[in-house]
């Protein structure tokens, strides 16, 4: 909402500068976003009166005018002679600068010396007098000799309000004036709305509201003997300051009143209305209307219309029709001042893609009880401008009246909720200054006029008290009452610990968007029957690339790697902890959100260094990371089962099983998949379902007493076929070694000339310990031999000595 400062002062005395007023309003919640002015791109232009206009003695198409600027007389040559002696016009004197940096100089034109030029609105860069050619004729009483910018109030400040949606009342200057009144204590001076209404000359317009739910009120007033012309410049300038384009006097009056009262008005060319009838009704299917912007618009049954006896003539509150538009030929006008349902207007506007000033006001809610005042104000202006006669009384169909609310305010409640001592008297005053009636006893009974639709409950009044009294006066206290304990839950602690573990291991945390492309499922070659395909689709995504809620973190991490690769960052250790989303069943019924952890490693680590070369990462880097996480979370050791993971390279991928439940996978990203993400290096990744992992985690480490007896270490190297996994060998060692085996540590893996093809040598350090006594060599030797025999028997393993 643009508030021309001088215009606002019509309604209330203001002793503040525009900037001071802006601060006061902003602090009261009516935010002034900026203070601006109209764009004035000229200087040295003054107001002059035309004395004579004559043809140029030497040139057919030129004229010579003598003008008087209040001090001296000037002779200027003009190319057009739309001005008459007595007219006041803009004179650009020598030295003046016009838009486009046009310097005005004394010049001799065909033998006549011209002391400057007379200007048109266009030459001054002003959007005044639309479609009018020629020199800008100023209003009669424009002060002579004054600078044009000053005389037309072009430099007046304009306050641009950023209103919250509840303050529709401030979409009119009078509403703003009430607000200023409550803040400064000055009274609001209402504009004059008395007009001389003539007896009805013919039949009154017949107004009929078919749908009282969507149109509570419709007031109409006939104006005859209309003389369509341009509005006076003062009105046009004010409209420009408001951001409204001047059109013609009648339309300008409706807009002018809308700006004052917040009530949109519409003017129909009455002669074009069939049978002088106004029906407010819903559109029929297949109806059309050509609107003011000359677009034929198909209407639907939800759109509220204004129709005459035959056809639609306007889309209620949104846009008028072209056929009933006020034009230069119009001689009689029907003014409309109505109240339409905000929701209906919004829906209609949205579906037609329209958003007019009138529509905005209807949407946010205009005061149903302001309809007649607004139409009377328009009549007053019409009379004042002498552009028509008011024909009969206002025809007012008010089918769904609304009455002011009376709201109880308990001062003590207000004081408690705000946390500030404000006297009852002061509270009452805050409302009275805005023109509310306040009944006072131990409580206040505030009658809120219908223009303030945001005040419905006691708490709304309490806000009003706090707001007008000043939020800055509120002190700082802290909640008292019972103590509460602030602590992370176990789950939150574990999630935090997981992140911290990864951070301390050198990983960088990333946060990707939760939505991905449906193409990602293809790129990751996820099988059709996979749960990962049970994704949730957005009904209205911003783009196809962001249309599906992710079911995995792989695609995001791969995209992140590609993004960094393109910035020459090839060595990356990344993780993301976040949600994935599954449709519980197809079709999507409700969402299953799970917290997961994704980790990716690519490149070589640590970085280049003069002491040591970085090591290229491999499968065991990602596996070691997973093992470390489990260790940190106090989970029992996991098992890693060779598994085919669709997006992983066969033979370098495994599923992770924790206490019998599969909790994730790890592996090397399939080169085909990496290539689809524009990655040509090896990437190792894992994804863990944290819900499952954390349910098996222990936040608190379990202490085991330190051993009292020494351990004995024995090595063993065995040759086993490749098909036998290390995990199988280790588990047999533990099984055969019994409770004396404390640790089995694989310290070497060897293939080579001495080893048969298809086999490998595994070397283990086995640590024996008896918790109750010192072990003897014999016991350990016997146990070690048991293990060797078991291995030989089970895996045809041969021992290497």
């Amino acid at each position: 909402m643009r508030v021309p400062y001088t215009w606002l002062k019509d309604f209330i005395e203001i002793e503040l500068t525009a900037q001071e007023l802006a601060n006061v309003l902003t602090n009261a919640g009516i935010e002034v976003e900026e203070i601006t002015t109209l764009k004035v791109d000229f200087s040295g232009v003054v107001v002059a009166e035309v004395l004579t206009v004559e043809k140029h003695p030497e040139a057919d198409k030129l004229f010579v005018a003598r003008v008087w600027d209040g001090v001296e007389e000037h002779t200027v040559v003009a190319g057009i002679a739309n001005m008459q002696p007595g007219d006041r016009v803009p004179l650009a004197k020598p030295g003046a600068v016009l838009p486009g940096n046009l310097q005005i100089k004394r010049a001799r034109l065909r033998g006549v010396e011209s002391a400057g030029m007379l200007c048109s609105a266009a030459e001054l860069g002003l959007a005044l007098n639309p479609n009018a050619e020629g020199i800008l004729i100023l209003d009669e009483n424009t002060p002579l000799g004054q600078s044009l910018a000053e005389a037309l109030y072009l430099m007046d400040p304009i306050l641009v309000l950023g209103l919250t949606p509840n303050r529709a009342d401030c979409l009119g200057l009078l509403g703003v004036a009430h607000e200023v009144a409550s803040l400064t204590g000055k009274p609001v001076q209402m504009p004059n709305i008395t007009a001389n209404i003539l007896p009805l000359s013919s039949q009154a317009p017949r107004i009929s509201i078919k749908d009282p739910k969507l149109c509570a009120r419709y007031a109409g007033l006939l104006v005859r003997d209309v003389r369509i012309a341009l509005s006076p410049l003062w009105m046009q300038v004010r409209l420009l300051q408001a951001g409204v384009r001047p059109i013609n006097n009648i339309v300008d009056v409706t807009n002018y009143v809308m700006w004052e009262w917040g009530q949109p008005l519409h003017a129909f060319d009455y002669a074009t209305l069939a049978e002088g009838r106004i029906d407010v009704r819903l559109a029929f299917e297949n109806e059309f209307l050509v609107t003011l912007d000359n677009v034929e618009r198909p209407l639907t049954g939800e759109m509220l219309l204004i129709a005459d006896a035959l056809r639609p003539i306007a889309i209620a509150g949104v846009m008028g029709g072209l056929a009933t538009e006020v034009t230069a030929k119009t001689t009689s006008v029907l003014l409309e001042s109505a109240h339409f349902d905000p929701t209906s207007i919004r829906r209609t506007g949205r579906s037609l893609g329209l958003y007019s000033e009138a529509q905005q006001r209807f949407e946010k809610g205009v005061d149903v009880n302001g309809c007649t005042e607004a139409i009377l104000r328009a009549s007053r202006l019409i009379e004042l401008l002498g552009i028509g006669c008011l024909d009969g009384q206002v025809v007012d169909e008010y089918v769904a009246p609304r009455y002011p609310n009376q709201i109880r305010l308990r001062p003590e409640r207000a004081r408690k909720l705000i946390g500030l001592e404000i006297s009852q008297l002061e509270m009452a005053l805050i409302f009275r200054r805005q023109g509310f009636f306040v009944g006072e006893g131990t409580q206040l009974h505030v009658t809120v006029p219908t223009r303030r639709q945001d005040l419905l409950l006691e708490v709304d009044l309490i806000e009003e008290v706090a707001r007008i009294h000043g939020y800055h006066k509120i002190g700082s206290t802290l909640p008292t009452g019972a103590m509460t304990q602030g602590r992370l839950t176990d789950r939150q602690q574990l999630l935090k610990k997981t992140k911290q573990t990864l951070q301390s291991c050198g990983f960088a945390e990333v946060i990707n968007y939760s939505f991905i492309s449906p193409q990602d499922a293809e790129k990751l070659q996820i099988p059709a029957n996979s749960r990962l395909r049970q994704a949730i689709h957005l009904a209205n995504p911003l783009s196809e690339e962001q249309s599906v809620m992710r079911t995995q973190l792989v695609s995001g991490l791969l995209s992140t790697i590609a993004y960094n690769k393109n910035r020459n960052q090839h060595d990356l250790m990344l993780f993301e902890q976040g949600s994935v989303y599954f449709a519980r069943e197809l079709p999507e019924s409700s969402a299953d959100e799970r917290t997961v952890l994704g980790i990716a490693i690519t490149g070589a680590f640590p970085g280049e260094h003069w002491l040591q070369k970085p090591l290229v990462t491999d499968f065991f880097d990602i596996k070691g990371t997973v093992e470390t996480i489990f260790a940190r979370l106090g989970s029992k050791s996991a098992t890693y089962l060779p598994a085919e993971i669709p997006w992983c390279q066969p033979g370098q991928s495994a599923s992770i099983v924790l206490a019998g439940e599969e909790v994730g996978w790890l592996g090397k990203i399939h080169p085909d998949v990496a290539e689809r993400y524009d990655i040509d290096k090896s990437v190792y990744m894992t994804e863990l379902d944290l819900q499952a992992v954390l349910s098996r985690a222990n936040l608190y480490p379990e202490y085991v007493a330190l051993p009292r007896y020494p351990a004995m270490l024995r090595d063993m190297a065995i040759v086993v076929p490749d098909a036998v996994s290390a995990a199988e060998v280790i588990s047999l060692i533990r099984e055969a070694g019994g409770s004396l085996v404390e640790e089995v540590n694989l310290f070497d893996l060897y293939r080579g000339p001495q080893i048969p093809t298809g086999c490998r040598s595994l070397a283990f350090a086995v640590k024996y310990r008896d918790k109750l006594r010192t072990l003897s060599d014999e016991v350990v030797a016997r146990q070690h031999q048991n293990i060797e025999e078991a291995l030989a028997a089970r895996f045809s393993a041969s021992l290497r000595r």
Binding site: T26, K416, P479, E593
Partner: protein, 341 residues
């Protein structure tokens, strides 16, 4: 005999001075003081002396032994320290060469900020609540007093999954879920950090971003309690001299409502481009929970009052770290991430 002692003395002193290594010194020591050394053999010859000379010579011999022992010890220490000095000289390094850094990772700046916010509120007795990101219209709108026809519910502003189900547009649904869970218990003091989504993507809007919601319910909670809490927060987050300013505003789920500014962290309140010369920067929206919201979720608004606030994590992070571009947070550019440890 005495002469012999004098010879041994002179010889030993000369040899001790001549040796250059500890090993050589050891050999010399053995030769003079060892079991088969010169001193021993000399003392064995004592028996041949007349008995009256024995005490004198014995005394001298012991004296010599002690003296030599001391000389050996001193020389040994001298040699050892020389050798160590030499070894250390050999190990001298160019201390200006780069060190070997242990690998250390980086938490995302938004995580750091959310952790910091959480820590501040945990210290004030708040607990942390979480809620689903895929929400129903009931929790996201209706229960928050945002009626069906409210402009905030425009389809174009939210990501819908199907009618009634959408990506939450704020963390406020967690308020409702918390109230439903705890009502009518008081006091309630919670924050709820998390991801939220709005259908907006330009230089200053991201379709996904983070918020931290706060909710306190008790008897006699007031607007000044809200201000005090946020002042405490602002001072912990942005420095002990911070100020907060409440400005009236409007949210459907709070009444009275307030937008909260802190003194501009860029210019310290003097006025700059970031704060549009006002000296203040908006960091969150807040207010007293609307009585309808309390009532709907099980708290009698006559008996209990509550305040709530919601702050944008990205905004706080931008202010705290001086990051100018919102999009930076989701680019995951490792060069940016590495700046946060």
């Amino acid at each position: 005999m005495q002469k012999k002692l004098q010879e041994i003395h002179n010889q030993a002193v000369a040899e001790i001075a001549a040796v250059q290594t500890e090993d050589e010194l050891k050999q010399v020591q053995v030769r003079f003081l060892g079991k088969k050394g010169e001193m021993t053999s000399l003392l064995r010859g004592m028996g041949q002396l007349p008995p009256e000379e024995r005490p004198l010579v014995g005394g001298l011999a012991n004296q010599l032994r002690d003296e030599l022992t001391n000389l050996f010890t001193a020389r040994e220490e001298e040699l050892r320290s020389t050798a160590r000095r030499k070894a250390m000289a050999d190990e001298q390094v160019d201390v200006t060469l780069p060190g070997k850094p242990p690998m250390i990772g980086h938490l995302h700046p938004l995580t750091l900020i959310m952790d910091e916010i959480a820590e501040i509120f945990l210290g004030m007795g708040f607990t942390i609540k979480e809620g689903p990101e895929i929400e129903t219209e009931y929790y996201n709108f209706e229960a928050l007093n945002i009626p069906r026809e409210h402009p905030a519910r425009e389809m174009q502003d939210s990501f819908y999954i199907r009618p009634e189900v959408l990506l939450r547009t704020h963390t406020s649904p967690v308020q409702i879920r918390t109230m439903e869970e705890l009502a009518p218990q008081v006091p309630v003091r919670i924050i709820a950090p998390g991801k939220v989504y709005r259908r907006d993507d330009d230089a200053t809007h991201s379709p996904m971003f983070h918020q931290v919601e706060g909710l306190v319910i008790d008897r006699d909670i007031s607007l000044s309690d809200l201000k005090g809490t946020l002042l405490l927060f602002a001072r912990q987050m942005f420095g002990p001299k911070q100020q907060v300013r409440l400005r009236p505003s409007f949210f459907p789920f709070t009444e009275p409502s307030a937008e909260v500014d802190i003194a501009c962290v860029i210019c310290g309140g003097q006025g700059c481009r970031v704060c549009k010369d006002s000296g203040w920067i908006e960091i969150l929206g807040s207010g007293m929970v609307h009585p309808r919201v309390l009532e709907l979720s099980g708290y009698d608004p006559e008996e209990y009052t509550a305040y709530a606030f919601g702050m944008g994590v990205e905004r706080v992070a931008m202010l705290k770290y001086g990051i100018g571009d919102l999009r930076m947070f989701f680019s995951n550019d490792i060069r940016m991430l590495r700046q946060f440890s």
